[in-house]
Amino acid sequence: MIKILLFAHLQEKAGSDQLTIDKEQTTIRDLKNILKETYQLIELDQVMTAVNEEYVMDDEIAKAGDTVAFIPPVSGG
């Protein structure tokens, strides 16, 4: 089980600020693809990703027990 945290407008799209994905391990890229299909989160092409509060790139891996946060940059000021 991988825990997913969604920030800003991703929440509204997915209807929740937290999701879980039942996987042993996956690359961030694959994880994004799953979420894009399931929740139409096309915005995932433009987010920062943290695994256990550390910045990661798309080819890195998340494992069961990890918390993955998707953080879309917001532009207002």
Binding site: L5, F7, A8, H9, Q11, D17, E43, Q46, M48, A50, E53, E54, Y55, V56, A69, I71, P72, P73, V74, S75, G76, G77
Partner: protein, 336 residues
């Protein structure tokens, strides 16, 4: 000014020595909207030596819900934000030197203002300008403090040239963010939360306590009770065109920028001419077409279903359309 800063001097990491440093430093804040006005108020209250503030806009009624320095009076007077902010800031602390500029921030207009600036604070509302700021800050080796907010969320990061990753490392491509204050709204606590982080980081840098700076990117959501700090050390890229080994500063190539632009989500087009506008002459001409409002900094009038605001520095805002073509037609009809 006697005991004016006594509570700040009592705070150990600042103290007498820190207060003296603060009073000898110069900060530039880019933008006088929600983040800018609140950051400016904090720094002026803290006794910063000199503050440069830059904004291209004027005070509108819908700003008052979250933009700290402005009141109903400045809305009625249609004062440019930089001027309205300066007025209030000097009432708060008359000993701070404040330079206010009503202008568009571009690499060309910003560069001369960065001389002797110790810290840059990001209070812009778009990533285009933030990437220019990111390039300029690295070129001139000035720390800058990123901040942004929308809805009940916000984020901040302290960019130290040669130490931390830069904005380009964190976001390889410029985000085409659909989430602006004009599209999904904003509540004032989200603004203040970002500003609290930005001002705290600025104070650390001002007194030279750089080790205390937050090295993580912070994100929060006040409505959903989230607060997240992300370690970003590994994001720093050796080949980053801004902070890497061979920087090319890709966002400083001003020539490629358009002279007309749609302001995101605002149903407004901005047209920029290289010449300054003579507002008196323009007022004289336009008052035959429609009633004109006019102050020292700008001139506005209603025309058909549009509202036009002409600025001294050569810019015109055409409210009521998202079409550059339509805007140019109207502009040419009136000022052309």
């Amino acid at each position: 000014m006697g005991n004016r800063y006594s509570r700040q001097i009592l705070f150990k990491p600042i103290g007498e020595a820190g207060q003296e440093k603060i009073q000898n430093k110069h900060i530039l804040i880019l933008g006088c909207g929600a983040l800018g006005s609140a950051n400016a108020e904090n720094l002026v209250r803290a006794g910063i030596g000199k503050l440069t503030i830059i904004d291209r806009d004027y005070v509108e009624l819908s700003n008052l819900q979250r933009q700290q320095l402005y009141t109903e009076k400045e809305v009625t007077e249609q004062l440019p934000k930089a001027m309205a902010a300066k007025q209030r800031l000097q009432q708060i602390n008359s000993s701070v030197v404040i330079d206010a500029y009503v202008m568009d921030a571009t690499p060309v207009t910003l560069l001369p203002l960065l001389k002797n600036v110790d810290i840059l604070i990001d209070a812009t509302d778009n990533f285009e300008t933030r990437f220019i700021l990111n390039d300029l800050a690295h070129k001139e080796q000035i720390p800058w403090i990123y901040g942004s907010c929308v809805g009940s969320t916000g984020m901040s990061f302290t960019v130290l040239p040669d130490e931390t990753p830069c904005l380009g490392c964190l976001m390889d491509t410029m985000p085409v963010s659909g989430a602006t204050c004009d599209s999904v709204g904003i509540i004032s606590p989200a603004v203040q939360m970002v500003v609290a982080h930005q001002t705290a980081e600025a104070l650390k840098l001002l007194v030279g306590d750089n080790n205390a700076c937050r090295t993580k990117l912070v994100t929060f959501d006040l409505w959903n009770n989230h607060y997240h700090m992300m370690k970003v050390d590994r994001a720093k890229k050796a080949d980053c065109p801004t902070c890497g080994e061979n920087p090319s500063y890709p966002h400083l190539n001003y020539e490629s920028r358009t002279k007309s632009e749609v302001l995101c989500g605002r149903n407004t087009v901005q047209i920029r001419t290289p010449q300054k506008l003579n507002l008196d002459e323009l007022a004289h001409r336009l008052q035959k077409i429609a009633p004109v409002r006019h102050n020292h900094f700008l001139l506005s009038l209603e025309y058909e279903s549009y509202r036009l605001v002409f600025f001294q520095d050569g810019r015109t805002l055409i409210h009521g359309t998202d079409s550059i073509e339509k805007a140019k037609t109207i502009y040419n009809q009136l000022a052309g």
